[in-house]
Amino acid sequence: MARMTMIEALRSAMDVKLSDDPGVIVFGEDVGYFGGVFRCTAGLQAKYGEERVFDTPINESAIVGLAIGMAAHGMRPCVEIQFADYVYPAYDQITQEAARLRHRSNQQFTCPMVVRMPTGGGIFGGQTHSQSPEALFTHVAGLKVVIPSTPYDAKGLLIAAIEDPDPVIFLEPKRIYNGPFYGDHAGKSVPWSAHPAGEVPEDHYIVPLGRAAIRREGADLTILAYGTMVYVAERAVEQAGIDAEIIDLRTLLPLDLATIVASVEKTGRCVVLHEATRTSGFGAELIAEVQQACFWHLRAPLLRVTGWDAPYPHAQEWDYFPSVSRVVAALAKVMED
């Protein structure tokens, strides 16, 4: 099997779909000739031609609006927003149009479209290259929201997203494009080639939407995480010496509540992690669901470790990013009760 970075795995997913479905089309800012600022589409225009892979003007609402028109016509657009921080001009198209097209036309028109975008912090990108807007999409009926944490999942989930009949917001944690990140920015970076999840089949496969993955089995506590925070959780669990179960949600919507509930019923304790700001973040939704489903199994209050409720800073990035030590403290606190 090949070793791939997450970037290569995403490219491979688009490559597979471009070759097996003539309706698949890829476009966005700088994605054509150059292959994207993160190189996710490198080589695809040369291989499939400009009618399949092309550059767009800098207008996110046009990118998504065009994709909706094509998808409604029967194509399968997979478009890129250069950074999640730049999706907002397209928010109207995504939330008011794509999300509701099936419902409002009573299935006459549908929108099988994928909107890819790099998300999250950890790259010293300041407030306009670091945001985690997942909750702005999970809050909207009609959208699916996916966020992989490994190259293997990235490819399988992206293929599943492209094949999905409904619009999918596909968030790519840019901090782990090239290797897992364990929260230690000063430490040595680990490439995906040195990680088992960097093994990615060349061919078609899917990782179904709506299924979480248990990254570590454990008996004492359940950690719910996604994207980069999965690795921060792994390191925190090592440091805390707690037998925690780490669940990588992979798809935020639809949510794999069954896997979550089974775990929390077993452990009786739960900590939720995300990079995004706290108030009205996706963690609030998770905590509400877990509380309702697992109340009589809980031994301690549910906790969340998140970004602070402030714009993502540049210089103070590591005071902002939910650190291993903050996660360790939360784990310890939940274990006290």
């Binding site: 000739y33 600022v37 400009e50 092309f54 550059d55 609402s61 300041g126 402030a310 210089a315």
Partner: protein
């Protein structure tokens, strides 16, 4: 089968192809007249489709715009030249510092310096620029001190923004420099709103909006043009057409439109297209446009025609998408070389003085850089206190933020 077929705009040359600027028409200097200040959009066609140039090939100012400008004092021109050289010194030193890991990010403006440099000198105290990230030269020309400027670039305790913003995203209200956003286009329409406030409140000031050719595609560009046309506020709508938007050729933003200036005409905003590498042309047209706005004749758009000679940013390598020697072949030359030639021609400058000025400015920037680096770099960080994260989110810190700050340990 259908006859409909899509087109995809292409740059004239890609890497490993010979540079080809044969598509770029460079009219002779001095051809276009100076329109009246109340120029109407329907009379602006020749200005929006032509190219206003003042210096001829030898650096001699010719034609009506040269007369309008009059003979600029040599001191003013030397100041402009020195500011551009200073900008180049800053670019050189900071690009280097980024390469050494001392700062996270940097963006050069090589080749485009004349535009902001000459424009800024025509503004008055209290006018407001809404700059893009590539307009640091506005700060240099406004005599913004180097300490806070470099402090921002290093995100250390000299940074007036206390490390909140990515390097280059300055904010300097007293120097007429609005807080720069990373989200393209958004501030173009805000500038129109600011200008409307100038008119409503009668303060006699104007606003200057700035946008790149690529970002003219954004919704807010169109919002700005329309709003400016409807309400006629005192705003100059600058479009810096440097031919590239990261890897994307300007034709992708232009489509079949002839020029960006002509696009403004469609909204009813008169527009002019100017050789942005001609310091005198920039000075003359800026003076005209700013006077027009201030005197109440309404908005005007200016397409500054130039070339982005450097990489898009410190994260970019343009050799992947354009020929390496395009910048040297740019038919409108280099703004520093051209102003230098003009000053030498006037007997107000010399090769020796030029070399000396370049060395002095590099020295000055290097000295300040050393002092600023002593306040911390990314290699040796001394950022402002983490509490800066929470300060200024709101005028009064709400209880939940106070709790979070405590949770952080402050």
């Amino acid at each position: 089968m259908s006859d409909a077929k899509l087109t995809f705009p292409h740059p004239p040359a890609r890497p490993n192809q010979p540079v080809d600027f044969s598509n770029i028409v460079v009219p002779k200097a001095g051809l276009l007249p100076v329109p009246p200040l109340d120029l109407a959009p329907q009379d602006a066609q020749p200005f929006a489709r032509g190219l206003i140039r003042v210096m001829d090939d030898t650096g001699t100012p010719v034609g009506p715009w040269a007369e309008y400008l009059g003979e600029m004092p040599a001191d003013d021109l030397r100041k402009g030249l020195r500011d551009m050289l200073k900008m180049r010194a800053i670019d050189r030193r900071m690009q280097n510092a980024q390469r050494q890991g001392k700062t996270s990010f940097y963006m050069q403006s090589t080749g485009e310096e004349a535009i902001g440099c000459a424009f800024q000198r025509q503004l008055q105290q209290g006018d407001m620029n809404f700059p893009t990230y590539r307009q640091q030269i506005l700060l240099v020309a406004a005599d913004y001190p180097l300490e806070p400027m470099l402090g921002q670039l290093y995100s250390n305790d000299l940074d007036p923004l206390e490390g909140r913003q990515l390097p280059i995203m300055h904010s300097a209200r007293d120097y007429g420099y609005f807080s720069v956003s990373g989200n393209l286009g958004t501030q173009y329409v805000q500038a129109v709103g600011w200008a409307m406030a100038c008119a409503l409140r009668g303060d006699g000031k104007i606003a200057a909006a700035w946008i790149g050719d690529g970002a003219t595609a954004s919704n807010d560009f169109h919002s700005a043009m329309l709003s400016a046309s409807v309400y006629q506020p005192p705003v100059v709508l600058n479009i810096v057409n440097n031919q590239w938007a990261i890897s994307t050729y300007t034709g992708v933003a232009a489509g079949k439109s002839e020029t960006y200036a002509a696009r403004a005409l469609g909204y009813g905003v008169p527009a002019l297209r100017v050789d942005g590498n001609d310091f005198l042309a920039v000075s003359a047209v800026s003076r005209w446009a700013i006077e027009r706005a201030r005197k109440g004749f309404g908005p005007v758009a200016i397409e500054w025609f130039t070339y982005r000679a450097a990489a898009h940013s410190s994260s970019d390598d343009p050799s992947a998408y354009r020929p390496k020697d395009e910048a040297q072949a740019w038919p409108l030359g280099d703004p520093v070389d051209r102003l230098k030639a003009h000053l030498i021609d006037r007997g107000e400058w010399s090769e020796e003085r030029h070399v000396q000025a370049g060395a002095e400015l590099l020295d000055e920037v290097t000295q300040v850089q050393k002092q600023v680096e002593a306040h911390g770099t990314l290699v040796n960080p001394q950022p402002a206190s983490p509490t800066a994260i929470f300060n200024g989110v709101y005028a009064d810190m709400p209880e939940h933020l106070r709790r979070q700050r405590q949770e952080m340990g402050y």
